[in-house]
């Protein structure tokens, strides 16, 4: 994931970096392909998943969901979660929380006047049981069998 200063709006696709500094001219990406292979520089831009899924790259991290306690919220074990720390969390969101020093994914719910962490089984941790919100899950990516 490229980190870009501009956190909003579409970003131009970065051109492959050429180092013309020295005697030789080298496409760094050709390294992986071996030096005989010519690589077409003018690849088409197409559409970008980053653009669709990541609004603030600086504060966005990827995580992997393990376990099926949030199926009703739409998460399946193995899903890649996109987590944005810059978003203010509110009830109804799927969040990454710190519980007992461990990162977990839960549904942020409101119970009475306070926020609580819930799974499909119901409320698990209330606000006074000391949890912390790490970030807000903004998307989940699942690969299908092919």
């Amino acid at each position: 994931m490229p980190i870009d200063d501009e956190s909003n709006g579409p970003r131009p696709l970065r051109r492959r970096q050429r180092n013309s500094d020295d005697e030789g001219l080298l496409d760094t990406h050709a390294l992986a392909a071996g030096f005989g292979a010519a690589i077409d520089e003018a690849s088409t831009a197409g559409i970008s998943l980053d653009e669709l899924l990541i609004s603030n790259p600086v504060s966005t991290f990827m995580m992997r969901c393990q376990g099926d306690a949030l199926r009703r919220a739409g998460l399946v074990s193995g899903d890649v979660l996109i987590v944005d720390r810059s978003i203010t969390s509110q009830a109804g969101q799927v969040v990454i929380a710190v519980v007992d020093g461990e990162l977990v994914v839960r549904l942020l719910a409101r119970e009475g006047g306070a926020l609580a962490l819930a799974s499909d089984a119901g409320i698990e941790h209330r606000g006074d049981e000391g949890f912390e919100i790490w970030g807000v899950v903004t998307a989940s990516i699942r690969k299908m069998p092919t």
């Binding site: 030789g24 030096f35 005989g36 991290f61 995580m63 393990q66 306690a69 710190v98």
Partner: protein
């Protein structure tokens, strides 16, 4: 008037680990580098246990048992990624911004009005906003110092950090963010009088010992010392530092040009087809020239790529254009290490019987050389807090290399090898020891954090 700020992540390496392993919060943690041999970062709790910067691991190992010390291998992929994020955030808070090291960014402002960059009535407000965004967006705690010169901004940052930890007897309201420009002359003088001279950027241990002998023990003593005497007894570095402490800016924000991301040196051979010994000497030469360039821009390389290629224009030749990338044990800009590694890579990819037409060396994974400062310090005896303009270039052992090559030519290859590089002939013995390394949380799909649902 120009205003400078220094934003510095507290205990960067340990703080990065804590973002992804919150159980490390509140625990004494160190990160180890150099084959897990040396502590290069310490949490405040580890500092409280008496762990020193660059202390050998074997000396503190007993603390694992006795005090619950947690020692981790340095995870430079992670720190570099977090560092990039940190700079991106800082850029939004100033018109100009210069990354000074993996965990430090200098910012500069043209006037005394912070409202030009955002809804802030004072620089202290701006500093707190920057600090809280850094904590919120990427989970890293930082300190911010503001002043009229870079040296003073660095000192203000030091005071912000110390006050936050309750050290140095500094006023609590200066914790986390400290703006010298907002203090009265009297308050500033009190801070200077409470701060030992070796806390000043550019005043290393040796110089501060000499200053102490001359009766100069605090920043206040240094600021009021006679310039002519200082110039006579000490070097130009000290003089420049004192001018900066008096508020005369000598180090501009753009002093250090933007570093290149990779450095390449390569050459085509024309009609002459080189044999292995000529390729070895070409690669050695290219590697040492690339290293010189790295030193010139203040970078250290994390890895070296070597390639050879046959000519695609000679269709009758069997084509063979391999390349290899070797990780360095630690980021370095030492000629000896980089040349040795490049030649090693060449030997791996070279196949006899091919008409190679070109070869080259590329230094990649470049990072500011401060990143390995603790270690350089350990081996080079340099001063930890030397400003970029004053820093001596890393040791260049090119002449040693040349002499070695000459001996090897005369007495046969391998007659003389480098004891310091610790090389065996097997690739395995070159592999970095990092037994306690955390995953590449932000750099590898296989290693992203796993969260329980």
């Amino acid at each position: 008037m120009t205003c400078f700020a220094l934003c510095d992540v507290n205990n960067m390496y340990v703080s990065c680990e804590r973002v992804f392993q919150p159980r490390l919060n509140g625990q004494p943690v160190v990160t180890l580098s150099s084959n897990d041999g040396v502590a290069v970062a310490r949490s405040n709790e580890a500092k409280a246990l008496g762990v020193k910067m660059a202390q050998p691991f074997f000396e503190i190992r007993h603390l694992e048992r006795e005090a619950g010390l947690i020692a981790m291998s340095a995870n430079f992929e992670l720190y570099t990624d977090m560092s990039r994020r940190m700079v991106s955030i800082a850029r939004k808070f100033a018109p100009r911004c210069q990354q000074y090291s993996v965990d430090e960014v200098f910012l500069s402002y043209d006037g005394a009005d912070p409202s030009a960059v955002g809804p802030y009535s004072t620089f202290t407000d701006l500093g707190h906003a920057l600090r809280s965004r850094m904590l919120r967006w990427i989970g890293l705690p930082s300190s911010v110092g503001f002043a009229s010169t870079k040296t003073l901004a660095k000192l203000a940052n030091h005071i912000a950090k110390s006050a936050d930890r309750g050290l140095g007897g500094y006023p609590r309201h200066l914790a986390q963010v400290c703006d010298f420009n907002a203090l009265s002359a009297r308050e500033l003088e009190a801070l200077f009088a409470a701060t030992p001279v070796n806390d000043v950027w550019g005043i290393g241990r040796k110089i501060s010992a000499k200053l102490n002998e001359a009766g100069i023990s605090t920043v206040s003593d240094l600021v009021h010392a006679d310039s002519a005497t200082l110039r006579k007894r000490f070097n130009v570095v000290v003089e420049k530092t004192v001018r900066e402490l008096r508020g005369i800016s000598c180090l501009d924000i753009e002093d250090v040009p933007a570093a290149k991301q990779q450095i390449m040196v390569s050459r085509s051979f024309g009609s002459a087809v080189p044999d292995l010994p000529s390729l070895v000497s070409a690669v050695s030469e290219f590697a040492s020239r690339a290293t010189e360039k790295a030193r010139a821009q203040g970078s250290a390389a994390g890895a070296v790529t070597v390639f050879v290629m046959t000519s695609p224009f000679r269709a009758q030749d069997r084509q063979h254009s391999p390349s290899t990338t070797l990780q360095l044990v630690r980021p370095t800009n030492d000629t000896t290490q980089i040349v040795t590694t490049a030649v090693r890579g060449l030997r791996e990819i070279y196949r006899s019987g091919h008409r190679y037409a070109k070869c080259g060396v590329m230094l990649i994974d470049l990072r500011p050389q401060e990143l390995s400062q603790g270690e350089l310090d350990l081996f080079g005896g340099g001063d930890e807090l030397e400003p970029p303009a004053h820093r001596e270039p890393a040791r260049d052992r090119t002449r040693l290399m040349t002499a070695m090559d000459a001996l090897n030519r005369r007495f046969g290859r391998g007659s003389v090898t480098l004891a310091s590089s610790g090389l065996g002939t097997e690739r395995g013995s070159w592999a970095t020891r990092q037994e306690r390394k955390s995953p590449a949380y932000t750099n590898s799909w296989e290693e992203i954090p796993v969260v329980r649902a």
